[in-house]
Symmetry: C2
């Protein structure tokens, strides 16, 4: 199962989930003359080549590609294909969520065909209808999902922390996510349906991790958003069970350091992040 | 302001919001030989030509286009451009929702450039961060938003109806949506930030409409999903303030009626729906 591959990747290559969310200011000078989608595709390929052995997986945030229009989505498709072709694991960070018939379209779009990812992120606001149509793709273990539980952004609390029967809404959502994924555990013990819990909310990390040991966690918020090693360490069980996402703080590591070797600076930033988390887990 | 144009369109052309969510089985025989994205683009253009004077607006559900890959998204872009070029109003039904920096990318993607719509739908689970970056596009009145409040699908209740401080979560969300849109009212009295409330949940329609008379409502769930005229009538204030979305029950009206004149059957289905709602509003 792909969730077992991910758990194993964390154990052998460390828990860094590299966010490929490039903005024009991150494109190195050596690629600056190209049309933006082409420059981004090449930037991504170079990053993947330089980091495949030191990251658990990649997370590609589709908004950055939608903002470049149709050619941007071609670049999104190419980036996913390149990662998967190189043997990497990729999370399509699409945060979709819709009624059943529409969810079926999203499932086809993002777990098969041109935009095929290994995992996708989904929004739970519509309940199980947003998730059910993805399950046929999960049955043989080939794919997985990450459902938003407690996100890393400042205003997450406006909805996700609202008190519902004596506990925050996000714990109610975590219960649902756990139930949806109950029958889908791999030999690693983790379910193919995981949760997203931000490193910026250590209390949520601790409560979700404590209540649901079989839930694999995708932890955003590291670096640019403010969470550090001690915060994200709470997401792990026995050294695995979580990946920690970072984007700008890594893929922007080459800025201010001119020359063609931008990928080396990015690789070094991954190694630094991996070491900081390892120290906090020890 | 575009919200005033929409309110006026409802008053003059009726409240039908036509969902352009084509699946392969809805494509008429006369277009069957073409590649699917091209067939869908032509199907949509013919439908728009035949209905522009009898619908309030169009709603294009992007999942159906993402499922066709990169060329599907070119078809999505073309459909939006065609509607806006013909003077129609179009809602990009994208239901995006993300952290601030990512929301800014989605705002650029869907309120400008190739995928530019007049309105987009957004998911409120992440709170204001998902909405704020769209506001610069709303300031001059050119654009609007519809935030999910109570959706039309069966499992909506799993999250949206959860009791929070003595009321369902969706009313808490409606409060937030109202607050976010408070300073953005047009001369029609309606805010550029509206809400989505399903016709399949008449209680929610009544409570949201009762509490927030300045909130324009997008009401899905009519037809194939089960809501009828009496249910959706609760969404209106003085004959306007809401649009009622339907897709398959209208754009599939030509099926089983062969011949090249599929658009006439679709137009007739719009007129029937418009009459049923008008009867219930009288």
């Amino acid at each position: 199962m792909v969730i077992d591959r991910l758990a194993e990747a964390v154990a052998t290559r460390g828990p860094v989930c590299m966010g490929l969310d490039p903005t024009p200011d991150l494109i190195p000078g050596s690629l600056a003359g190209l049309p933006l989608p082409e420059a981004v595709a090449r930037f991504n390929r170079k990053i993947v080549d330089a980091t495949l052995d030191v990251v658990a997986c990649y997370k590609v945030q589709i908004a950055h590609y939608e903002a470049m229009g149709v050619e941007g989505l071609r670049c999104y498709a190419e980036t996913l294909r390149y990662i998967r072709g190189a043997g990497g694991i990729v999370i399509g960070d699409v945060k979709r969520g819709d009624i059943g018939t529409t969810s079926a379209m999203y499932a086809a779009a993002h777990l098969s065909g041109e935009f095929e990812a290994d995992f996708v992120t989904l929004n739970p606001y519509l309940g199980f209808d947003a998730v059910g149509p993805f399950l046929p793709y999960l049955k043989d273990g080939a794919k997985g999902l990450f459902l938003l539980i407690r996100t890393s952004n400042p205003s997450a609390q406006e909805v996700q922390d609202v008190g519902c029967g004596g506990r925050p809404l996000y714990l109610h959502v975590a219960d649902l996510v756990h139930r949806w994924g109950e029958g889908l555990r791999g030999r690693s013990g983790f379910s193919a349906i995981g949760g997203v819990v931000g490193g910026t909310c250590p209390e949520a990390l601790e409560r979700v991790r404590g209540a649901f040991p079989s839930m694999f966690l995708l932890v955003p918020g590291y670096g640019a958003q403010g969470a550090g090693g001690p915060e994200v360490a709470r997401a792990f069980v026995g050294g695995t069970g979580a990946v920690v996402a970072a984007s700008r703080s890594i893929i922007g590591a080459h800025r201010g350091k001119p020359g063609a070797r931008f990928a080396e600076h990015i690789r070094k930033a991954v190694l630094r992040m991996r070491e900081e988390i390892a120290r906090c887990l020890a």
